[in-house]
């Protein structure tokens, strides 16, 4: 009962991103909940690809942490470039200077569990 | 035709004694008469095709060569003078530039290096404390490097990195260095970057753009290239 399958194309890609805001001490006009975060991502897509092009990129916010405004996003593999570049070309959120920082990108959700580059050995 | 052979008997007279006794010896008339003998000789020895053309030519009183004659080479003008240059293949065969690999030692070439340092010093008007003038740097392009201690600082072939020695010979594409281990190494110019030090100046030589015969280098106009990267 030995079985081996090789899957060469993973269906989704996962990203660990956070939203960096200028002067983080100053509060944003709204509290950035997961709904607002998702909206910010969608807005970034619409701004770059238009209403239709943006809507064709389905993004899931799998996890959101309000404390450091970080999230894990899931996107179809063929839309990864679109989503990523939309996030890169976003510089404003609610008329505040901001930037999406992409910490990790992986074709496996498991890959985001550990980041050996950032782990501090103690 | 000084020595008569069997064939050339055609053209010579029979000895007088023989002629006198011709009737006693029962010699045929045609032997005595050269033309008759000649025609029978030709019939026997020359291909019939050639004979036909010869006959036609004979009628027209033309000269025809019955044999293939290789014209003798005229002596060349150089040989006349008594000296000539070797052609490329001969020159290669002589191999007069090949430094023999066995007998080169580093020690014997140290004086060459000392000489070269002096040459460089006067060529560039070196002063340790001052930066090298721009024209002195340009003179480096045309300088003679025999006797320089070159080190391969980087190379596409990692085994060459670190090879250092006195330049014994420069060819278009290579240096021949004698190392401290008394080894004669041929290092390609094109894939290496070389360094040497001169009185407090470190000179880096990008071999990729130095692929010229040393003799041509003197008169060559160097042009800037895209990159010094290997």
């Amino acid at each position: 009962m030995y079985e081996r399958r090789v899957i060469t194309k993973s269906e989704f890609h996962y990203m660990r991103v956070s939203l960096d805001v200028q002067n983080p001490a100053k509060a944003l006009p709204v509290e950035l909940t997961n709904v607002y975060f998702k909206q910010a991502v969608t807005a970034a897509l619409t701004r770059l690809f238009g209403d239709i092009g943006g809507a064709m990129v389905a993004v899931d916010v799998l996890k959101y942490n309000e404390g450091d405004r970080s999230a894990i996003l899931r996107v179809h593999s063929h839309n990864l470039v679109k989503l990523w570049s939309a996030l890169t070309l976003t510089d404003r959120y609610m008329s505040r200077k901001c930037a999406f920082r992409v910490h990790q990108v992986s074709p496996y959700l498991m890959g985001l569990a550990v980041n050996s580059r950032e782990y501090e050995h103690t | 035709m000084s020595t008569p052979t069997q064939d050339s008997a055609v053209y010579s007279e029979l000895p007088a004694g023989v002629k006198r006794q011709a009737t006693q010896l029962k010699l045929a008339d045609d032997v005595r008469d050269g033309s008759a003998y000649l025609s029978s000789f030709l019939r026997r020895h020359v291909a019939p095709r050639n004979l036909a053309t010869a006959a036609a030519a004979n009628d027209a009183h033309q000269v025809v060569l019955l044999d293939t004659v290789v014209p003798k080479k005229r002596p060349s003008s150089l040989q006349k003078k008594g000296r000539r240059q070797l052609n490329a293949r001969e020159r290669r065969g002589v191999d007069c530039f090949a430094a023999s690999t066995a007998r080169q030692t580093y020690r014997t070439h140290v004086p060459l290096h000392t000489l070269w340092r002096g040459y460089m010093r006067s060529l560039l008007q070196l002063e340790p404390s001052r930066a090298l003038a721009a024209d002195a740097q340009h003179r480096l392009l045309k300088a003679d490097y025999h006797g320089c201690v070159l080190t391969v600082a980087r190379s596409r072939c990692p085994s060459l990195v670190g090879v250092a020695g006195i330049v014994l010979q420069e060819t278009r594409c290579t240096w021949r260095l004698v190392t401290r281990e008394d080894r004669l190494v041929t290092v390609p110019k094109a894939t290496c970057v070389f360094t040497f030090e001169l009185e407090g100046h470190v000179v880096t030589l990008y071999g990729k753009h130095f692929v010229h015969r040393p003799a041509d280098r003197c008169s060559k106009k160097f042009k800037s290239k895209a990159t010094i990267d290997l």
């Binding site: 770059l48 890169t88 990108v105 | 003679d144 600082a153 030090e197 470190v202 990008y206 753009h209 990267d229």
Partner: protein, 309 residues
Amino acid sequence: MAAFSDLNILHMENVSTKEKLLMAIKLGYEVVAINNYVENVLVKDDKGKSKKEPSKVVEIPAPVKVHLTERDIGDLKVKGASLKQLSRFTTVLSDPGQWRRMQEDDIQAYDLLAVQPTTEKLFHMACTAIEIDIITFNIGDKLTYYLKPAPVSKAIERGVHFEIVYSEGFHSSSRRTFIANALRIMHVTHGKNVIISSGAREAMDVRGPYDVANLGLLIGLQEPQSKDAISTNSRACVLHANTRHSVKSVISVRSSSELKAEDQWTVEACRKEASEESGDDSSESAAEEADSSFDAARPESKRRRMDGV
């Protein structure tokens, strides 16, 4: 692959350059060029007709180098990297005479030279003739000329790089032209000799290297090419600048004191010989004498020997 580099951190009067550098360090860049942008190196008089009249000399700011303390780069040190700062000078090329001005020492003191041609003729000149490292575009505005393949391939051959400044893509007004222009550049260069840089006006404008590499995919680069655009190509660009500073790209001369500790081995063989020589004084002076008589004849005699038998 070479280190991640951002060859366009704009130096501005009122914004701290240091802050931008720290952001670049934080994001993982190891080579950064601080860009001084001077609109015009020649200021013409109002009349500007008589060409013979010497034009007013424009003050060129000295290359900027930001002093970073150990504490500032501590973040980077942890990652085992170091920051290399370069200086870059950018100007708008609107007159062929500007190139003469750019050859003067105060501009040549910069590590990297970049121009932004305004017409097709000047673009042709920048690609084929003048010794610069980077051709940049006002990528947020519509290009007024057509990028011809012939000068572009000549520029690629000469090692001149084309720059795409991604911070122009931030604003919705210029984003459309940014993408259109970037695609035009990609189309004509086939992704060769393209560098992507930030052109950051503020620290928040700098994006991480992997983000920028992905942006390269958006504007039509292949996977390996897009990473090259921020690493290998930038390295080639810096090397091209070094080539410019060498003597005919064959020889470069430095003072021994500038030699880094890790490169000392490259001159060791030479030093050993020199020290042995100076140790033996008598032989040296003898050699000196021999030289003076030998000098003039030497290269000549060599040449004769080389030429033939």
